[in-house]
């Protein structure tokens, strides 16, 4: 498979680089049946210019494709490709995107991370009715930002089937960093199953996709490490809570084929460079459910943007990218070939591509990190509980809390403003929708997260992110909004404050132009990428320097974090966990700015 497919994407990319050829191909495409045009890899959409408007045409359809050597008829493609073609907008201009729906169902496109009028945000039921079958909807909005973003369906489970693509906004002013070449890296998870079936399996059979549960052998390993009493104590703490330290991702490599630009590890997506060049990688996690850890063995990466927003350049060896997050990194490869390696957070699988001086090359592919389990901090029990140390010395074997936090930026003693906050779970601890509450949640911004216990190189942490400059609104927050992330794995219920979307009455009001502090408390055992539409979240790291500005915050188990927000744009905005099946299960709210 990989042998005959390898040359294809590159030659295609070369051809498609020239817009006129693309136009010709598009013209051809309209004469050919859709399946003749099914593509993976990096396609780029051409634009037409009229006055101050950049005009783009997109057609959403089902297109049979070969993924990881296997034919599937279920991909939802845009202009025939998976991922959807790269759209390049230009800062300072008006974007006009005409989207034609050739599916049998309603569809939509949400421009993830773009601040725009709310009725152009593309969330059916919140900003517009959706795009009906056969209909063409015109999105039209001014582009007032730059950076790496993406776009995807906000209808049903369509996103799982390929309805996502990269969106880049070229800046009006030159970038504050230099690079010679760029590659877009879209990470995603593919299933050959019907996504509705995946949802049902999660709903009716707890742990359906988890093939890393604790076994009798693991218990005896604990006995060997901690002694009988330590092992019993550990099993007892987790057992009493009915929580498993091995529940890292809900849908795993047992179901998913992990893709890089629509290509599997065997397909080996390849990005070409010339030695000595500075290469900008725009990494987008367009997965439905998969948090990835990304590294390039042998290459340091300099992070220059997070979620499309400039940060002070920070050098690292590996970064965790939550679903819907983006990171721009600059690398300076000198050798002939490097592996770009992205493993799922639970180490159940990976995808990879190659950065090489020419196509068809390969570097050695690293092993997955050993499978791991969560520590006590995930329960929100750390802090004054003394659980890691003191009475439970053996618990050091319950990793996660250690990790490699020796990066150069860690000397700073700053504390986020919520560090000492007293929180409340309400009289009923969020009810049946919450299987647990974090007793003592705290900021964990200086921790790389679960799974890096045996890693001795640098791993990016949130507290290493500093905005490159001040944001327009420097007022202190006038109001605080505290929201708890809650869930119940037994029935696969996910919610905020224990209430699913269908159980709340009305929306969350934000004042137009007010300055508020959003506080997120994670009362679950999982990481949640929380996405707020229509406004930036300025993450309060407590460090000197400017706050990093994000559209999606990955919140660790047992963590409490806060962000400053100025709701600039009136209207209704979606606010949700970006794990697709969590959102579908009810972890969703509408924020109304008025």
């Amino acid at each position: 498979m990989s042998n005959h497919q390898q040359p294809r994407p590159l030659s295609r990319r070369d051809i498609l680089r020239t817009g006129s050829t693309m136009g010709l191909l598009l013209g051809l495409g309209s004469l050919l049946p859709g399946y003749a045009f099914g593509l993976t890899g990096n396609q780029e959409l051409t634009r037409r210019t009229e006055g101050n408007s950049d005009i783009y045409e997109l057609t959403i359809d089902r297109t049979p494709l070969t993924i990881d050597g296997r034919r599937s008829v279920q991909p939802i493609t845009l202009n025939g490709s998976l991922p959807a073609p790269l759209i390049r907008l230009r800062e300072g201009r008006e974007a006009v995107l005409r989207v034609t729906n050739k599916l049998d169902d309603y569809t939509s496109i949400h421009w993830h991370g773009i601040l725009l009028p709310f009725d152009m945000d593309g969330v059916p039921g919140v900003s517009f009715p959706g795009i009906a079958p056969g209909e063409t909807f015109e999105y039209r909005y001014p582009v007032r930002q730059s950076g790496t973003y993406w776009y995807h369906s906000h209808s049903g489970l369509q996103e799982q089937l390929g309805h996502y693509g990269p969106l880049i906004v070229d800046p009006a002013e030159p970038e504050p960093f230099e690079y010679d070449r760029e590659h877009v890296i879209v990470l995603s998870d593919w299933t050959f199953s019907d996504p509705a079936e995946v949802m049902r399996n999660l709903k009716v059979a707890e742990g359906y996709y988890n093939y890393n549960k604790r076994t009798v052998a693991d218990f005896f390993e604990d006995v060997a490490n901690l002694g009988w009493s330590g092992a019993w104590e550990k099993a007892g703490i987790w057992g009493e809570m009915r929580m498993t330290p091995r529940d890292i991702l809900d849908v795993t490599g047992s179901e998913y084929t992990y893709l890089m630009n629509g290509m599997s590890p065997d397909d080996n997506w390849t990005g070409v460079f010339k030695p000595g060049e500075k290469v900008r990688l725009r990494v987008i996690n367009a997965s439905a459910m998969s948090i990835f850890d990304v590294r390039i063995p042998g290459l340091a990466m300099t992070v220059v943007e997070a979620d499309g927003q400039k940060v002070e350049p920070v050098e690292t060896d590996e970064f965790r990218i939550g679903v819907a997050e983006t990171y721009d990194v600059i690398v300076e490869p000198q050798d002939e070939a490097y592996t770009l390696f992205a493993q799922s957070q639970d180490r159940s699988g990976f995808t990879r591509g190659t950065l090489a001086v020419r196509d068809g090359m390969e570097a050695s592919v690293p092993e997955l990190y050993p499978r791991t389990e969560r520590g006590m901090a995930a329960m929100g029990m750390a802090g004054d509980g003394g659980m890691e140390h003191g009475s439970m010395e053996g618990m050091n074997a319950m990793h996660e809390d250690g990790g490699s936090m020796d990066g150069p930026m860690h000397d700073n003693g700053g504390q986020p403003p919520v560090a000492d906050r007293q929180i409340s779970h309400g009289p009923d601890n969020h009810g049946a929708g919450a299987a647990m509450v974090a007793m003592n949640p705290r900021p964990r911004l200086d921790e790389p997260g679960v799974g890096f216990e045996h890693v001795d190189h640098r791993v990016l942490t949130y507290d290493q992110l500093r905005g490159l400059h001040a944001w327009p609104d420097e007022r202190e927050p006038q109001r605080e909004v505290e929201l708890h992330l809650t869930g119940n794995m037994e029935r696969y219920m996910w919610s905020f404050d224990g209430e699913k979307f269908s159980e709340v009455d009305g929306s969350m009001p934000f004042g137009h132009g007010e300055r508020l502090r959003l506080i997120l408390v994670n009362d679950t055992m999982m990481d949640h990428p929380i996405h707020l539409h229509g406004m930036w979240m300025e993450l309060e790291t407590g460090n000197d320097g400017y706050r990093p500005r994000k559209h999606t915050l990955l919140v660790k188990p047992g963590e409490m974090i806060s962000a400053q927000i100025t709701p600039e744009h009136e209207g209704d905005w979606a606010f949700h966990c970006h794990l697709l099946y969590h959102m579908k299960a009810g972890m969703f709210r509408v924020v109304s700015v008025q």
């Binding site: 076994t215 009798v216 979307f501 209704d572």
Partner: protein, 258 residues
Amino acid sequence: MAVTHGRCAALIVLGLIVPAAGTFAQGVGPQAKPGWSLPVHDDVTHSQLLMDRFEYQDGDDEDVFAWEGQAWWGGDTHRLVVDSEGEALVSGGDGGEVESFDVQYGYGFSAYWQAKTGVGYQTTFGPGPDRDRASAVVGVQGLAPYWFEVDTGLRVSEDGDAVAEFEGEYDWLFTQRMILQGRAETSYAFNEVREFGVGEGVNGLTLGLRLRYELFREFAPYVGVRWQDQYGDTADLTRAEGEDTEKTSLVAGVRWWF
């Protein structure tokens, strides 16, 4: 007569579930127009049929086919639950017993527990007079701390006989697919019910160990052993019929669901 009452009760329970599904307020914003679909549909219903035991029991004197399963339909909180357990003689005799066929309304009152209430039906078949009786059932099912699956209930028959039932399960994972399930089952009868062979007091204890291999999550063949002992009046009634009160069987079956 009581059976008719039972059917009425079942209909009433169904009637309670259906309107409950549509009465939630929706958290859409002020800009949403009538006729728009909702951004997420988190209150869809699901259903499942799980046969936890579906097995052949090879005993000393008789071989039986036995089943125990649960079907449910509903959302996260409100469910219609059907439980059934029974056995049929395959060799060493004829007949069998549907020990329970319970149709209940299940309400998820906490993260790990649902309360169930409804009607049950029990019948014997085969040689001799077929007997049946209906009962009202109330119980609690869920996951107890330390990972014990618990199903417990109180059953009051149309004749006013009452019995409390308890069943617990625990899974040991040897590998990700090879799982040893231990189970214990006991009941306490408040009255003697001679025609069903039930004496007053603790009836007995049934223990099982079943080692399954999950070829798929949905399909797991197993082998195991089942040991049953009877106590008190129930044991006396069994002895009076000339049968052993203690039975050990080897079992083979499939745990399956869809």
